[in-house]
C-alpha cells in the first residue's frame, strides 16, 4: 500500500519510521509517472512490513519538492533514519527499483 503524503505530514511520516521509506514524487500530468505508479504499487505489496511506501504529488506539495530539489519526475527517493539515502530519477523497470530498495534493507 502506498500512502499519499503532503507538505505538512511529510517529516512526521519520514522520521517516525524505523524501516526504510521509499517516496515516489509524481504528478498527474506526467506520463512516465503514470507508468511507474503500478510498478511501485506492486513493490509496496511485495515489501509489505519491511519498507514503507509514500507518494508526494509535486503539484500540491511544493515545499517538500523544493526541499529535496526534485527537478524531474518521476523521482524515487529512499530515506533512512530521516534523511535521503538514495535517489533514482525517471522511470525504471521493477528489477532496478528492487535493487535500489534491497541495498537499504
Amino acid at each position: 500500500m502506498i500512502k499519499e503524503v503532503m507538505d505538512n505530514t511529510f517529516n512526521e511520516e519520514i522520521s517516525s519510521s524505523d524501516a526504510p521509506v521509499v517516496v515516489d514524487f509524481w504528478a498527474p500530468w506526467c506520463g512516465p509517472c503514470k507508468m511507474l505508479g503500478p510498478v511501485i504499487e506492486e513493490l509496496s505489496n511485495e515489501y509489505e512490513g519491511k519498507v514503507k511506501f509514500l507518494k508526494v504529488n509535486v503539484d500540491n506539495n511544493p515545499v517538500v519538492s523544493q526541499m529535496y530539489r526534485v527537478s524531474s519526475i518521476p523521482t524515487v527517493m529512499v530515506f533512512k533514519n530521516g534523511s535521503t539515502a538514495d535517489t533514482m530519477v525517471g522511470f525504471r523497470p521493477k528489477n532496478s527499483l528492487k535493487e535500489l530498495i534491497d541495498k537499504h534493507i
Partner: protein, 293 residues
Amino acid sequence: MDDKMSERYDLAIVGSGPAGVTAAINAKIRNKKIIIFGYENLSNKLYLAPKINNYVGFYGISGKDLTEKFKEHLAEMDIQVTYERVDSIYAMGEYYALMVNDKTYEASSLILATGVSFGKPFKGESEFLGRGVGYCATCDAPLYKNKTVTIIGYNKESMEEANYVSELASKVYFIPMFKGDYDLNENIEIVNDRPVEIIGDNHVNKVILKNVELETDGVFILRDNISPDQLVPGLLVEDGHIKVNRDMETNLPGCYAAGDATGRPYQYLKSMGEGQVAALNSVSYLDRLSRQK
C-alpha cells in the same frame, strides 16, 4: 480508441532499417503478431547510399534500388510499416508499453533496431541528468515555475516547448542548434552560441558557452534522436551502444537489439544477421512465455 492499441502484440520492432526489416520478416515467418515502427524510406542512410558493393548477391546496387527490394519483400509477406515515432518504451514487467504521441502500444517482446544517429552528450549532461538536466521540457516545466531555464533546441518542435516553458519560468534562454526562422515568444532570449559544458554543485547552476556563461536552474536538451537508454529507461548502454550478448539479448528480459545500435561495424549484412538472430530468439522467448501460462 484505435483497436490497434487494445491488443497486445507478440513483438514490437522499433526501426525499419536493414536490421528491423530482417527481424520483421523472420518473426512473421514464425507466425508471430508483429508491429514494426519506421519510415516510408525505411532507412535514410540506406536510401541515400549511391552504390553498394559488399551486399552479397547485389553487386553495384544503389541504396534506392535495394530499398525498393526490401519494400517488395515486406509487401509480399504482408508486413506494413507503421509510420509513427516511438517516444519512449517502458518495461512493465510482463510486457513493454510503447508511447507514441498520445497512444500506447503493448508488446510482449521488443527488438530495438534504431541505428546510430544520436549526438554525443555535452560535458556535464549525464552527470546532472535529473538534477537540473532534462529531455522533456513540457514534462518538467511546472517544476521550474519562477525559475530560469535554458533550452538547447535542435529542431522546430523545441521552440514549441520553449514557448510553453516561458509561460511558467521567470526567464528562458533558447540556444538554437539549427538554422531557420525562430518562432519564439517575446520574453525568450535567443543565445546564438555553441554550448560547451553544463556545470553546478549538487544541481545545475550554469551553462558554459563558447563566448558567454548563462546562470540557470535547469537545462533542457531537445534533440531529434534520443539515445537508447533514454528511449528505454533502464536499458544498459555501453559507449553509446546497446549492450547485447551473442543472442542479441539486452539486460531487459524479452528486449533484444540489432544493427548499428549495438555497435560497429556499421554494415548492412551485419545488421541483417543481427536482426535475424534477435527475431529468432525473441520467438523462443515468446514460446517460453506462452508455455508458462
